[in-house]
Symmetry: none
Subunit: 196 residues, 4 copies
DNA sequence: AATGAATGAGGATTCATTCAT
DNA sequence: GATGAATGAATCCTCATTCAT
């Protein structure tokens, strides 16, 4: 057992427990950015640094990489559900929000549909639950007789669009996402973060 | 100086230059399998082991991970081009071959279209060349007035299909690939490795 | 995936495969010393450094801490068995060797008898096998009617002696070991590493 | 400056100074259990949690791990002294109590005799004082001419017995302790926590 | 030309300790 | 006086890469 002490070395501010919620949120934001920029394998230390917290805080809030990734997806889904809940929202409107998230979280939104090779099954498990929540949101706004109404076509189309979303810049990714929807003959509303 | 080496230390046979080509091929095969099973981040040592060669041989043939990944894609492309060269091949036939490779190399075929964030730009650079070769092959068999004839639609569609290819088993992945093509209204021939 | 390269930075000598056996032995020696001085929880990096090898070498030879500890015990047992095999060796002689190892590996020889709380069960499992080998060695030299001949008394006595072996210096530990045997009324020969 | 604190953030009751003594006692009990179950290296946070207090409280009462371990031993010694103080107590009676503690605190009672390598010298220092108190207690009840009367034999025997106390269950440990005393030819009374 | 051991940097993870509330 | 979140150093462990043989 080695003691880690060095009791006098100045210590950065400790904002106390009040910071907890703020830190968690900062971590989710940082994770979205870092995962998006550096891939799902990005060093967790990079995320902690970007969030302005110590490594320990990251681990306190998220026991592992999967929990962090899941939290980002969870946040995406929450916003999609909010958009869906808006009075009079159409499928077109909701797809705009979904597309925004696909574009923004490009690097790993695909996980929501992936369940295959490559380990990471912890993420996948929860992702499939999230996927169902997205499907429920979309299906609730799907007009009768819509061309994506049959079988799995709705989520398959979403997987196709997110799969096609690549490119170095946000603009390029959005361009590709819209082109993909067009190819599927599906109308998409303005690409927004949420509600509206 | 003291003689340390004793001539009996067994050492695997050195088959001379003949082995070189065989080793290279074994590495590409092993890489396809390992990347597919364990993701693009799989340890290179795992690939060397699976190929039955030492680590050094891997480095002799492929200076870095990207070169290896590229070699796998290169091989895919070569087979697609062969299929295209067959007298009387239709777009439908060629798409069957393309789809086979998409299904088989699911884990990283997406790289062919990706050029964005996430490092690995070495792979991306060459991948884009390969992508163009695939496009040339397909476009040569594209009937006038085909719905994917305009702009980037052809490669976008391919990106969409490969993006939708997920799932733990080969069968599931093939099912999804075919469903994706169907949703795009494109006919696909039998899903084969190459020509025929 | 992050590359760890820095291909020019001078690299310490690599003596090649020939060093493998030497390294393994150096690690066992270093482990005995370090475990003995700093306890079973000593940083493995300290052992690697003391052995003059990189961390990776340690892990190549011993996948985990338990394997290393076991290797030290294994070596102890081997020497005890050698001492037993000497023509005409008496219990008294063998106990001298056993005592030497108890004194030398004080910090963790106790593991050979411990099987209780505190995790580390990987070590314990193998240790119990080693313990049996020691018992077999001793029992083979146990005169009929010896006071430790009944039941578990032989190994219990050994546990008692090793349990009593404490102290900062080798001399102090040997003094205590001999005092403990005396208290048990058992004669012990000269305290030697092995054979004779 | 903006008011961040909202008065509704629930905060566990602060029972005032009265709680201090209760907390200290709870910590000692928790420490005995945790050290016993998880070893002397168990995380301090685990002890605080088991005691039902915050980490800070642990540090208020015990500045470091050693202080906590010492407190547990101190408590053991106090009980042994109480047992000794009983009118008419014999060595046999007192050894019963001593044995109970040896069995109960198996994991670290050995510290009382250890003073050697392996750091933790803070604990050792105080432990040696405690060791002397135990010795005084026992010696006061040692009949003239007892076989453990000479030199250090009394404490050596105790070290031997505690060193032999291993095993996963309390029963197994007690069995071994009694067998060890028997092997030393020393009679031991009923194994009890304290006095009587 | 091949083998596979060695190096060591980098990322993951755990706790001891402090401190705002 | 108590709580428990935050910090960050230390340790673990894994490979990419080199190189003696």
């Amino acid at each position: 057992m080695i003691q880690h002490s060095s009791p006098d070395e100045r210590r950065p501010a400790n904002d106390g427990p009040k910071a907890a919620a703020r830190n968690r949120a900062a971590l989710v934001v940082a994770a979205r950015e870092v995962f998006s920029a550096a891939g799902l394998d990005a060093p967790l230390s990079m995320i902690a640094r970007r969030a302005g917290v110590g490594q320990g805080v990251l681990y306190r809030h998220f026991p592992d990489r999967g929990a962090l990734a899941t939290a980002v997806l969870e946040e995406n889904v929450r916003q999609i559900e909010e958009a869906t809940a808006v009075e009079g929202a159409t499928l077109t409107d909701v797809l705009g929000v979904v597309t925004w998230h696909a574009v923004e979280s490009a690097a790993f939104i695909g996980l929501m549909h992936a369940d295959g090779a490559g380990g990471r099954s912890g993420i996948r498990a929860h992702a499939s639950v999230l996927s169902e929540r997205v499907e429920r949101s979309l299906r609730g706004r799907l007009p009768a007789g819509h061309r994506l109404g049959a079988g799995d076509d709705l989520m398959l189309a979403l997987a196709m669009v997110t799969g096609a979303v690549t490119g170095p810049t946000r603009e390029e990714r959005e361009r590709r996402a819209l082109a993909a929807w067009r190819l599927l003959g599906v109308e998409v509303g303005p690409v927004h973060p949420y509600g509206g």
